[in-house]
Subunit: 140 residues, 2 copies
DNA sequence: TAAAACAATGCAATACAATTGCATGCCAGC
DNA sequence: GCTGGCATGCAATTGTATTGCATTGTTTTA
């Protein structure tokens, strides 16, 4: 069977043609993409369907959303540990102010933070802005 | 002299009536506010002027913007260490999924994160989502 | 197999935040 | 008091996110 379809079924997502294409496209990305970037990168797709596809993916733990401060929501593939019950990929995200790309840094985990007593943490997001490896080299 | 005006001048912001009112309002808040919340909380003010006022405040290091993942940008007063050169208040922000309020936790500093070699960090934002003290108590 | 049930898709339309343009108003310095 | 520059307010635009609804496609069931 098609490995893409298998990946969808693994997350209990009905593997329609559209979803397979979107998944395929997402897997080829090195950076997190906004809905618009996704739309532009694919052949004549309806934005709304794309929106709902991504949302389905997100709900089933296949992609995660990243708010990098650029104003638009971006999406990237999850690690395998994510599922319907929640997203468990507590890695940081890096937004390069030069190339405007947002990347997951899966090797860098979000450190524990101590909250005031009584507070309950459910989810943590850490965004670092700066220059990525390529851009930093290019400038200096 | 009016302490509010003084605070504005301290950050090299011309203390107009509008700005004094906005600053006064901001200082009374315990939570970070969105532009719309700000607009509603004040007497018949023009949204655009408010937008530009907040932007001016932000540029001069008087308020900082927070993207808490709710989709809208929120603003809160800065610590004294911020100025035109940048925002240096590296505290975390807490978004309560129950009361939908975003608070600064100035006592909790953002821990250092190790980036891949070649990466340069310029700014870091850490958002924790969960239940704040009040809501956590209310539920249990 | 045919019909019914349900999910997915595509188009239209809406809601709303963010932003810009432009005309007017206000204040400071000459 | 005139002039220049910044501040303000209104109108209008952009762009993202989101919903409604009709249609299509797929799966289940009689």
């Amino acid at each position: 069977m098609n490995p893409l379809e298998a990946k969808l079924k693994e997350k209990s997502i009905a593997p329609t043609a559209m979803r397979v294409v979107v998944l395929d496209f997402l897997l080829k990305q090195s950076a997190a993409l906004s809905l618009t970037e996704l739309e532009l990168g694919m052949h004549r797709t309806d934005r709304v369907t794309l929106y709902r596809t991504i949302r389905t993916f997100e709900e089933h733990g296949l992609v995660h959303r990243i708010e990098d401060g650029s104003g638009v929501t971006k999406f990237a593939m999850c690690q395998t540990s994510c599922n319907v019950d929640g997203h468990h990929d507590l890695h940081i995200h890096f937004y390069c102010t030069q190339c405007k790309e947002t990347h997951c840094l899966p090797k860098t985990h979000i450190p524990e933070v101590s909250l005031p007593s009584g507070y309950l943490a459910l989810d943590t997001q850490l965004i670092v802005k700066g220059l990525c490896g390529s851009c930093n080299v290019a400038i200096t």
